[in-house]
Subunit: 669 residues, 2 copies
């Protein structure tokens, strides 16, 4: 490997957008274990092989062999989009190999790429579900066929390989596939789009990685064609399901299928930054703001509805039926990272952190061999045991399953963890001096080549359990290079210590005062004491409740931490009591309240004049209950769980009914 | 028509169960306009023809002609269950003709029956979707094919005809179809069941109406076979979706698809009462109690989930995403009526009333030509305009559509309205004297032949707008006949007046003191002043809110009744203020509260230490707002709506945050 290639590998990253901010490469940040380092290690050691084994077992890999051998039949294992899981796994393997050489992973890579290569048609078309003997014709079902979607994931895998290892067989396969798409769907070709966006984000970055502007132009065509009702309807689903209802640049918010909406936004932003389309950038910023402020869960999760895996209306954020698909979390991070590079605004890094800790980290079981697909914030019934050898047919809450019938999430988690560093920091050259900007904290070190020379720091932190982030400058060029740190929006009271002096710093970006010289020590102190977090009054699903967060972690109450006689829904928080930190969680004082007895013979509503349900007047017994990070729930067997805890017994309780509350608040105003 | 037949017609009713309670016949109760009389008239005048016209237009009727002419093809208009809509329409027409002769309706009947007869196969099989040229084989898809479901509705239509008009061609068609089912699925035949229960309820009543025990035995076999996992899975749906997870007699609650669960319960109860299976009766009673007390909305609506049109977990009763399919309301009434006959308990009549006024009456538009499919209790976004000439593809809230892609609800409403009287009263012969028992109130009259002779009353009431029900005895035999009235569970403070004296009567049944003689006047006084109704504390979706009811009517706030600058979600109820009756609704005092400004750039949750959203401290301006009956909403153009109104600004409001509330309630205990 040449020195240039070594540097290129160090710079390997999924997004290389034009503009003054460049994300750091995977080789520019070292993780020394810790929260993300340990997860990345588990991902490399367990998850990648786990995904390969399941796809081999289910015949999703053999699908490529069947095409290669001319043995396709009308029936075929896996959904029409199963090829994409193979490509997402390849992307994950490529990023991981870019960090740590591994002969076994290289063997897996070679096996997969060889089988894929053999399945590619002479003209570059590559799909195991369409276009061969006994199969439907190519592009005969753009609404549901997912052919371009699969190609998009192939291109993302090729980008990862190109940037971590250089041109190889997979990159050549991807070139042929991308060229085929441009011929087929170019300005003079089919005027179609894919029902599931993804090709756009794949084409732009592959165009950037290969220097081929035609790919970016093709992505632009796909983005511009969308929102004009060209996709054939799918029974019972509206055009908004696949964002074909409103042109991308005219939309104000995300709607329909969440992953589709977010992949489209990422791809459209890529097109916008590569073509200098400021209006399109503004459209995505607008959609982000509106959708984050009204349609996003405390965990960063997106998608309120199971029915269409989709966004709900504004303020429709029920905890129990939250869908919050893991893949939508991954896709949200993709969009926010691109917006962060495009604008430099800290709010995008805030949402990335929220989503990383509470969606991406929540999905995989500790051993990396089972995953949440849906991520509800309230589990009423225990999720049930999952057979370790069975495909889970449904994406219900409370169940981490080894594999799903639709199994998009495991490989999406894998590629995100394998490239975690790539959205942790960037070099900002928009000002006079280059500024190394740390957006996400993890123990380890960063060493970047700025235009003024190498700049390196070590980072020592037990974040997020502990809010102290100690940074020691290891290398700094003679000419000034700035260091900028993010103070998360929740971190009121943060302080920056240097040379024994401490100064408060407000949420947002904080610049470490220049000059910086090797040996300089800085400590950012982020308050990670447990805190109460209140929902917007328009959210019906969480009215009268409060959540507890700790730093970037959403906490939750899990039934296994309660006495056997206290149900999860019979706990009322004493919000006036102190919250104590406990490990990476908290301990809170609460009451176990008696719940109304049953047997009324009517729906669960009580009118004035009817006998009130019995047993609710009692204040209930005091409890100290531990809260754990949401990402750790359901690791101790089937359980029930709540993130948002009621702050008072409900209004059927005569002792704290709303009328009294009303009179009280009236009196205080 | 012979006198015997005249009497038979007078006694026409959908359920003739063994036991000491017999429901009155359609001819035994006269409706003089009023709430239900006017709806029944609109149904007869507009809805029946409306349904016929849509089915003709869409080719659902021509499907029968195609089978008759041997012209079936692989493609066919309508879903696989479209035949059932024709049969439900026939049932509605039969009940209506049993009340009022109508040459046009008779013509419609003759047209439909003739076309159906021509489509029946020689061996009695009758279905336009299976078993003919280019179609899938008979019973090749029991999970989704709906063949036995369609047959069940055919049998219900035949029951209606047999009891209102006597044996005719449709009855003969039904006999052949039922005989075919018994041959095909009997003890020695296919051991299958239908994915959608309905055949059970059809077979039992057809067996009762024809005196053929084999039909009842066949229904018993279907009930006993269920819950043993015999149905092939449908992608992403669990066996609970079609109640094939647990045997009927072992289940504790309803789950899965709500209409399926309820039709099954009705059919199982019919089997139980006809075979003297007390254990099975108890199972349905148990399921009713558990499901009503934990899984039923204030409106009587059942089914919390759009995804599978299904019940949710206990306490999962969100207002906004309430599905509450109209058909589930119809089916719930079917179950409750059967339980009322089986047990005589007033709680079943209470739920029937709740569901009649708030689901069945809510679905049809005033003109009887558009219908709600889903009946949510909160509409955040206006439902949008519906094109009067278009099939609505989706069952979303806020839209009364003339017809749906899956259009089960219009014909279900039609058959329920056409036979409304049949669940309004019954004769109870379980005691020494026969007791005429009035379960539902409507202006008109009842005249029943008891074993002691004819007993007749006139009923004068503007119920439910007015709570006075005046009853004048018109005929009474010399030997005692009792009169029993229902005091609804919400009617604390009810009184019975007779001869100038008034005595209080508690909710439940109240016996009018004997003796009763012609000319006697009784007045039941039910308090229908508006009242507050509080949700159970375990329901997250309605915590911190209250509903207002008035008699059997759930009221709601609709945006068209608010000033333009007040959004539906910015109204907070002053629960301490008086509620005033207004027409059939109410007027309440409320505040229009400023809602937090946007632009935080984060999800809609605010931690301590973060700047609180602005503008929420203000108390808001006082408003008097009118509430209307829920059944009348969305009649004045696209609108938003709420049933449950917040009782205090949410906890992000520093002026009434939960901490203060907590301190306050602590002090009062």
């Amino acid at each position: 490997m040449t020195t240039d290639m070594t540097r290129a590998v160090a710079l390997a990253r999924p997004v290389v957008a034009p503009g003054p901010r460049r994300g750091i490469g995977l080789g520019e940040m070292r993780l020394d274990g810790g929260f993300w380092g340990s997860r990345q290690e588990t991902n490399a050691r367990a998850t990648l092989r786990h995904c390969y084994d399941w796809m081999e077992r289910l015949g999703w890999l053999e699908n490529f062999d069947r095409v290669a051998n001319g043995e396709t039949t009308a029936a075929r294992p896996g959904w029409q989009f199963s090829d994409s899981e193979v490509y997402k796994l390849l992307e994950a393997v490529a990023w991981q190999l870019g960090q740590t050489p591994d002969a076994s992973a290289e063997g897996l890579w070679a096996d997969l790429v060889g089988r894929i290569a053999a399945a590619q048609d002479a003209d570059g078309y590559l799909n195991t579900c369409f276009g061969h003997a006994e199969q439907a014709d190519r592009y005969s079902d753009l609404s549901q066929g997912h052919e371009l979607y699969c190609t998009g994931h192939l291109l993302q895998a090729a980008v990862a390989r190109l940037r971590t290892s250089g041109e190889d067989e997979l990159v050549r396969i991807a070139r042929r596939a991308a060229d085929h798409v441009c011929r087929e769907f170019g300005a003079d070709g089919r005027q179609g789009i894919c029902g599931h966006p993804e090709i756009e984000v794949g084409l732009v970055e592959f165009g950037r990685a290969t220097g081929e502007p035609a790919y970016i132009e093709q992505a632009r065509l796909f983005v511009e064609r969308r929102g004009r009702g060209s996709l054939a309807p799918i029974a019972l689903l509206s055009p908004a399901y696949f964002q074909d209802d409103v042109p991308v640049r005219d939309a104000d918010h995300w709607r329909g299928h969440a992953v589709r909406a977010l992949y489209l936004a990422a791809g459209a932003l890529d097109v916008a930054t590569s073509t200098g389309d400021a209006e399109l950038v503004r459209a995505i910023e607008r959609q982000w703001s509106r959708s984050v402020e009204r349609r996003t869960y405390l965990t960063g999760g997106m998608g309120s509805r199971h029915q269409d895996e989709g966004f709900g209306d504004d303020w429709e954020l029920p905890s129990d039926r939250a869908y919050c698909e893991t893949c939508a979390g991954v896709a949200s991070i993709m969009v926010s990272w691109r917006l962060l590079l495009a604008t430099g605004e800290a709010k995008y890094a805030d949402l990335i952190e929220r989503t990383m800790y509470n969606i991406v980290a929540t999905s995989p079981r500790q051993d990396g061999r089972a995953f949440f697909y849906a991520n509800p914030l309230h589990q009423r019934e225990p999720g049930g045991d999952v057979r370790p050898d069975a495909v889970n047919p449904r994406a219900e809450g409370g169940i981490r399953a080894p594999w799903f019938d639709v199994s998009c999430c495991p490989t999406n988690v894998a590629r995100t963890l394998a490239s975690w560093q790539s959205c942790a920091a960037f070099v900002d050259e928009s000002g006079e001096d280059p500024v190394v900007t740390i957006a996400q904290y993890a123990g380890g070190g960063i060493r970047v080549d700025t235009e003024r020379g190498p700049f390196a720091v070590d980072i020592d932190t037990a974040y997020p359990e502990d809010g102290a982030v100690r940074i020691v400058v290891r290398e700094a060029p003679a000419a000034p290079v700035g260091l900028r740190l993010r103070v998360p929006h929740w971190a009121g009271g943060a302080a920056l210590r240097r040379d024994g002096a401490s100064r408060p710093c407000a949420p947002g970006w904080v610049d470490v005062p220049a000059p910086l010289e090797p040996g300089d020590e800085i400590e950012l102190q982020l308050p990670v004491e447990p805190r109460l977090t209140w929902p917007d009054p328009r959210i019906d699903g969480t009215r009268g409740t409060v959540a507890i967060e700790r730093g970037p972690l959403v906490l939750c109450l899990e039934s296994v931490d309660l006495p056997d006689d206290v149900p999860i829904d019979g706990v009322v928080l004493d919000v006036g009591s102190p919250l104590s930190a406990s490990g990476d969680g908290a301990t809170v004082r609460a009451r176990a309240v008696p719940l109304p007895a049953h047997g009324s013979g009517r729906p669960p509503f009580t009118s004035e004049g009817e006998a009130p349900a019995r047993g609710v007047v009692a204040r209930g017994r005091e409890l100290e209950v531990p809260l754990i990070p949401y990402h750790r729930w359901a690791e101790r067997g089937p359980s029930t769980m709540r993130v948002f805890l009621p702050t008072a017994q409900n209004s059927t309780n005569p002792a704290c009914d709303a009328r009294r509350i009303h009179h009280h608040t009236e009196g205080t105003q």
